[in-house]
């Protein structure tokens, strides 16, 4: 069965520092991968997605992620963090059947990002 692991429960970085959030997935075929961000009391906002093609994916708010099949990873990065980036971040894989379709999403447990001034 598909699964997603986010090893870091909570990360604190200084404003202006770089950020990398880790995500590992378990999936037998080519996965559909996503990163979402959730601010307190809010729903999930899609940051970026990977379906196929270029393994380095650009998203909104200056985020990017790299798909590495050999490592079963899809880590999220940002070169310079802003205080407004403080939120919870979720990695997800599409649970689609055959042909690598999306279907419903399977989420990791999330990584809470705190930003120090």
């Amino acid at each position: 069965a598909q699964s997603v692991t986010q090893p870091d429960i909570h990360i604190t970085v200084s404003e202006g520092a770089s950020l990398e959030l880790r995500c590992n997935y378990s999936y037998g075929a080519t996965p559909y991968l996503f990163w979402y961000v959730q601010s307190p009391g809010q729903g999930l906002q899609l940051l970026l997605k990977y379906f196929s093609g270029d393994t380095l994916v650009q998203g909104i708010k200056g985020f990017e992620a790299e798909f590495k099949r050999s490592q079963s990873s899809f880590n999220l990065r940002k070169p310079s963090v802003h205080w407004s980036d403080a939120a919870e971040y979720f990695c997800a894989v599409g649970a689609g059947i055959g042909g690598g379709s999306q279907g419903n999403l399977i989420f990791g447990k999330g990584t809470k990002l705190s930003v120090k001034p």
Partner: protein, 116 residues
Amino acid sequence: GAGVSQSPRYKVAKRGQDVALRCDPISGHVSLFWYQQALGQGPEFLTYFQNEAQLDKSGLPSDRFFAERPEGSVSTLKIQRTQQEDSAVYLCASSLGPVYSNQPQHFGDGTRLSIL
């Protein structure tokens, strides 16, 4: 600019009561998903619809949970005889295309359900 709208935002109920949670998807969106998010956890899939058809309800935790989307638009998630373990945020998402498509899922802000 209409996104996915969920109501109520907060619901408090006593154990044993029935509750109904509403989701208004983005107009024209074909697919609709329900997720349950327990405190400190990621969302977990409950069920999804393509138009009015409920294609998968494998994530519903018990037969006390029931979802419908009778006209292929608004959806209601109903929980009967609520238990304390039902306390969670219930998220609804909609997508423009069929369930198995590359269209992204757009999430509402959720309904926070507390069972006393």
